[in-house]
Structure formats: C-alpha cells, structure tokens
C-alpha cells in the first residue's frame, strides 16, 4: 500500500468518525464533541499536507478554524453549520485525488452560507473485486472434485462441488447485490438536513436486517425512499409546537423497516405525523375526474397532488407514481395505510431475485414439473381421500391437482393439495423467469431440458381423484415377507389381504376380488404356479405377479400358467409397487 492509499484509507476512517460525531452533536448538543471533531479534522489536514493535497489542506484548515474560534469563545458552531458540514464532508470523502480550485471554492461557499446545497444526497458505495484467495479456493475445490471423480469417490466429489456452488453463489450475490443497511448508512444525514430546512425535529429509526437489493436498483430505491421521507418530513410530521399541543413527542419519528415475507422484500416507510387527509384527496380526485378511485389509489396517479402549486418539497421530479412504478416494474406493488393524527405508512414490496432456486421435482401422469420449496408446507406419503379432499392429520385440504394414481400429496402454503404419482427429489437449479399461465418460471440444470416451476395458486388440473380402494392380495408362506410387504403396500395407500398358502389365497380371491395378486412360488400345499393357474381359471384379467427367489429360467413356467410378470425378491420393494401401479393403470 503506497502513501496515497494510506491517506485515502485514513481520510475515510477519520471522516466517517467525524460524521458520526457531527450527527451526535446535532442530536445531543454535547459541547465535548466539538474538541473531538476538531482533532479529527486537524489530523486530516496534516495528512493531506503530507501527501501534497494542498486544496484538501486548505479546506480542512478552513473547517478547523471554525472549531478553533468556537473553542476560543465565539459561537460559530451552530446546528446550521454542522448540517453544512454534513453536506460537504461525505462528498469530499469520495475523492481519490486532490480537490480542484472550483471544488474548493464550492465547498467553502457552502460552509460560509454563500451557496445552498439544493439536494441532500445519499451515496451508494460498493466494491466488486473478487479476492484472489477465493479464486484459488475455487480452483482447489474444482481439482479435488475432479480427482475424486477419477478415483470414483462420488461422495467427496459431490461435497467439493457443493462447496464450489456455495462460493460462486456468494461471489455472485456480492457482485449483484448490496445490503440495504449499506445503502442507507448515511440516510440519517438526509433526514437531519430536511428536518432542519423544514424547521422540524425528526429522528430516523432504521429497522433493517440483512436484506439485500440488486445494485442496479439501489439508486432508484434511494430516490424512492428519499422522496417518501421528504414527503413525510414536509407534509406528515408536524412542527414541534404543534406536536406538543397534540400531546405528541416534540421529535417526530420516521421508521424505515425491511423484511422478507415469502419470496418478497418488504420496505415500510412509517411516520408518526398527521396522516393523509383523505377527504381533501377525495375532493381533489373528483375535481380531476378521478373520483372512481379510492384515495389510497389516487395518490399514486402520475401528476396527482392536493396542492395547486408544487411547493419546495414537492415537484422535484419524482412523485408517488414513481414509487408505484418502482414496485410494479419489479412485479410488486405499494400500499398505503394512514390514520388521521397518527401517521402514515407506505409498504413497498417486490419479489426478490435469486440465483438459485430449491425445488421439489414431481411426476404426475405424462407431466414432470417442480414446485419451489418455499411454496410447500408439507409432503404427505400416505394419500387418504375423503369426499374429494385430502385428509391429513385431522385436516381436509382442497385438491387442485390430481393424477391417475396419486401416491404422494404436496400441501402448499395456500393450504391446497396437489396429488402426484412420484417424487424425484429436491434439487437446486438456476431460474429462467419466463412465465406462462400457471408456470411461474423454469429451472435449468436438473435435466437436459428446462423444468416448469408451477404456481400452486394457479395450477389446476382437476381430475377427480379415485376414492376406490385398491386391493392387493399377497400369497406367501413367510410371515416376514407378508408383514414387510403388507406394511409397505399399506403405506402406498393399498388395502392388503394376506394368505399363507395357495388354497387360502384362492378363497380370499373369491371373496375380496383384489385388483392385483402377488404370489410366492414355493409354498406348502399347492405351489404358486398351481395357485396362479387356478386363479386364472376363475378370472382371466386379474394381474398376477410371481414374487419369488426362483431363477429367471423358471419364469417361463409362471408365464405359461397365466402370470403377468415375475419379480425377484432380491429387487427393492419400490419396484414391486411400480409394477403393481402399472397393472392397475
């Protein structure tokens, strides 16, 4: 780091420290902070001199001089002067070279009251450099993944790839997003300046968490917030004496609050002022031929104002219509809540863009689609239908989507149920935002083709779910096989009948008329082949699956006597379920 860089870093540190102390002075009028601020500006002046920033030195000498005079008994450090400093210092901190003659003159003119800074400004600062250490880490993870794959260590490769994914997402987020807290860091300066020029007392309270917004939106967002806050100070918050008369605290309060709900970022701008004058707004709306709109809506119409002439605060090129446009252009909206004498709250909300989306991939008949995990309340593996609704844990849910053979139910956050035949898994993917009717976007990277993300509110395919009980007869002499298989099939919504030998199986078949029969081969009494042959004589259509440990050569015998399929007991039970479903379909 060279000498100049050290200076710029220190300038920023000391300058920020001074800004905080100035704010504190304006708020508390603590005379002790005067000396502290003087000391900081003196240090900046000395350092500027060392790096040859002569105009910097001259400016800070001028500022320092005011403080010296104050300490010598002159009353020159007023709230007004401190506010002027708040207009000058943040701008100067942005410089990375010495001031020009014109700049020096401009700042001195502001400080000496010859020039008025017309607009209080808030600055967005950002850095976009990716640290080289992080790039090296990415290379290291990639190599580890590659080498793990070459060693066929899939688990480790997956772990490394997931680390790469996390780091890339983090880089992208830092590149494209900025924390709200960061862009609102100097917003209190604006509030102080506006309050001072309106002869009001206002305290800004930021209730901001870790929310981020896209960097490209930050300037527009600041303009929007600036407008709303200016409006609140100029028209909402009352003068101190008026507030006192009304029994309110002398200092008005503006709160900027941010939070995420669902997939949307919410920004609330709330003041405790006089509230909107709805009657006046209604009257003006009628005069302008907008009487059909509610007052809460008409204030967002371009050009609408209750004033005949724009006052100093209004008419600065941005109106409430711009606030509305900002939100709607991003797929959101703005609402206003106001109570006479109590205050006004604007609620701006819009969807948050993300680089990755986590989805549940499902199949239903010929469709394969996914649902954003954020839209899902619960996944139910045992589907129970009552009067055309899903029954789950003593609750009934309307079914908005169903398929031929529902095996799983997805309960969405709007308390609707989607019945699907299969769940493939949960995956991360990149989002493509094209939307069609009930598709709210597409996820790439899961299959070779993009997968639709369905909108649970709009996804409707009302096939009447079957309430017919699907019956499976399991004929097996092994109690273990019967119990395991029985429980497994029950979990998939089947009603299971068990028989421990062929004769019993045939009797149950005659009585219960099952939809599918699963039959072992080696059993006491008549074997599975003979059982199959006898059942086939009774019913030509009922599907019979031979479920045995016999070799595939013996399969031909099973098929000869009328079985429809053969499945080895070595296969996972899910395959048996699939086979059963295929036959039922």
């Amino acid at each position: 780091m060279d000498f100049l860089e050290v200076f710029l870093q220190k300038l920023n540190e000391k300058g920020q420290e001074a800004i905080e102390l100035i704010k504190s002075f304006i708020e508390n009028k603590d005379p002790n902070s005067i000396h502290e601020i003087y000391r900081l500006f003196h240090t900046i002046k000395g350092s500027a001199s060392l790096v040859g920033f002569d105009k910097f030195k001259q400016l800070f000498h001028k500022i320092e001089d005011y403080f010296k005079r104050q300490m010598n008994g002159e009353d020159v450090i007023t709230e007004d002067f401190m506010l002027k400093l708040l207009m000058v210092v943040p701008e100067v901190l942005k410089k990375n070279s010495d001031l020009t003659d014109d700049e020096l003159q401009h700042y001195v003119d502001i400080l000496e009251g010859r020039k008025i800074q017309t607009e209080a400004k808030v600055y967005v600062t950002s850095s976009e450099t990716i640290p080289s250490e992080l790039l090296q880490e990415l290379l290291s993870n990639t190599l580890s993944a590659e080498n793990s794959l070459m060693r066929e260590d899939i688990q480790n490769a997956l772990r490394e790839i997931r680390l790469v994914k996390q780091k890339l997402v983090s880089i992208l987020e830092n590149t494209f997003y900025v924390k709200l807290r960061q862009i609102l860091a100097n917003f209190d300066v604006l509030v102080m300046q506006e309050a001072f020029s309106n002869k009001k007392k206002v305290k800004l309270e930021l209730q901001i968490g870790e929310e981020r917004i896209e960097k490209k939106d930050s300037e527009m967002l600041l303009n929007m917030l600036t407008h709303l806050v200016r409006n609140a100070i100029a028209h909402g918050i009352e003068l101190p004496e008026e507030r006192t008369k009304k029994g309110k605290l002398e200092v008005g309060r503006i709160i900027i609050r941010s939070y995420v709900q669902g997939n949307e970022l919410f920004l609330e701008i709330e003041d405790d002022g006089r509230g909107l004058e709805f009657e006046k707004i209604k009257q003006k709306a009628i005069e302008k031929g907008l009487g059909n709109l509610k007052p809460e809506e008409v204030i967002f119409v371009p050009g609408f104002s209750t004033k005949d002439k724009a006052d100093e605060t209004a008419g600065r090129g941005i109106g409430l219509d711009v606030v509305k446009n900002f939100a709607t252009a991003r797929g959101g909206d703005v609402e206003v809540v106001s109570a006479a004498g109590k205050g006004t709250k604007f609620i701006v909300h819009f969807p948050i863009k993300t680089f990755l989306v986590r989805v549940l991939v499902a199949e239903a008949d010929e469709l394969r689609f996914c649902i954003d995990l954020q839209d899902i309340l619960e996944i139910v593996s045992k589907v129970e239908i009552k009067d055309g609704q899903l029954k789950h844990k003593d609750k009934l849910y309307d079914i908005t989507f169903s398929c031929t053979l529902p095996r799983f139910a997805i309960i969405t956050k709007n308390n609707k149920a989607l019945l699907v035949s299969n769940l493939i898994g949960i995956f991360d993917g990149q989002v493509s935002n094209e939307s069609y009717d009930m598709i709210k976007g597409f996820v790439k990277n899961i299959f070779v083709y993009p997968l639709p993300i369905i909108s649970p509110e709009q996804f409707l395919k009302l096939q009447k779910p079957s309430e017919k009980v699907r019956k499976v007869l399991v004929i097996d002499d092994s109690v273990v096989t019967r119990t395991i298989l029985g429980k497994f099939l029950v979990n998939f919504g089947y009603t299971v009948f068990e028989a421990e030998n062929g004769t019993e199986g045939i009797e149950i078949f005659k009585k219960e008329n099952p939809d599918v029969i699963v039959c072992d081969v080696e059993m006491p009494g008549i074997d599975g082949f003979e059982t199959t042959r006898r059942i086939r004589e009774l019913n030509k259509k009922v599907p019979i699956i031979i479920f045995s440990t016999l070799t595939s050569e013996q399969l031909s015998k099973g098929l000869e006597v009328g079985a429809n399929a053969y499945l080895s007991k070595d296969e996972p039970p899910e395959r048996l379920v699939r086979l059963i479903e295929r036959f039922i379909q």
């Binding site: 394969r368 493509s432 094209e434 009717d437 009930m438 598709i439 299959f447 070779v448 993009p450």
Partner: protein, 117 residues
Amino acid sequence: MVKQDRKNDEKERIRELKNKYVIVGNTFAMPLSNVLNILSADVVTPFKIEEWDGFIDYNKIIPVKNIDTGKFVVITQNVAYRTSRVAISDGNILRKETSNETYLETPEGIYKILEQS
C-alpha cells in the same frame, strides 16, 4: 482476382439462401433465415399448457408446438416446432388475394408461409 470471385460466390450463396424455405412437418414453410437451429427433441420439456406442447431452452425458454412428435425441433425466435420432417426447398411465392397470406409452391406441394415465428 481469385479473391473477387470468392466474394461473388459468397454473395451468390447468400442470395440463394435468402430464397430458401424450410418445410416443417410437411405442413407449412418458413424462410430459412427465420430458423435459428434444429435440435434433437430430447431437450424438449413435455408440458402441455395453453396452445403449447412443451418448452425448450435456447438462450431463453421458447414454447414448442408439436407437429408430429418427431425427433427434431426447429427453433425460431419465439416458437419451436417438433417434427420428424424437415426439408429445405424453394419455389414460387403465391399470394392469396382474400387473406393476403403467402404460399410456397414446390414440386412436392403448396405450403403456407409463416413469415413471423
């Protein structure tokens, strides 16, 4: 001289291509210049919605119209067509007076021309 000839050949080739049409699924024709690519149907998402039969990712998500469930997808700017039959042809342009529609007349048949896709 050789360079000039090559340039002329290239111009001629472009002129010829400008007059070429792609016959999709033996049902309609579109200017060859409207076709961005022809891909395998494996990369189509099967999903029937509105008037579409699926979707394909080609820099953006493009809806797919199924012609005959073939193994190719003809990609254009805003729509893709799934078909088994893709042919390049030229011929006479015929105009229907009543509807202002244009048709391509080829030895194999007459095909309506989709100018915008």
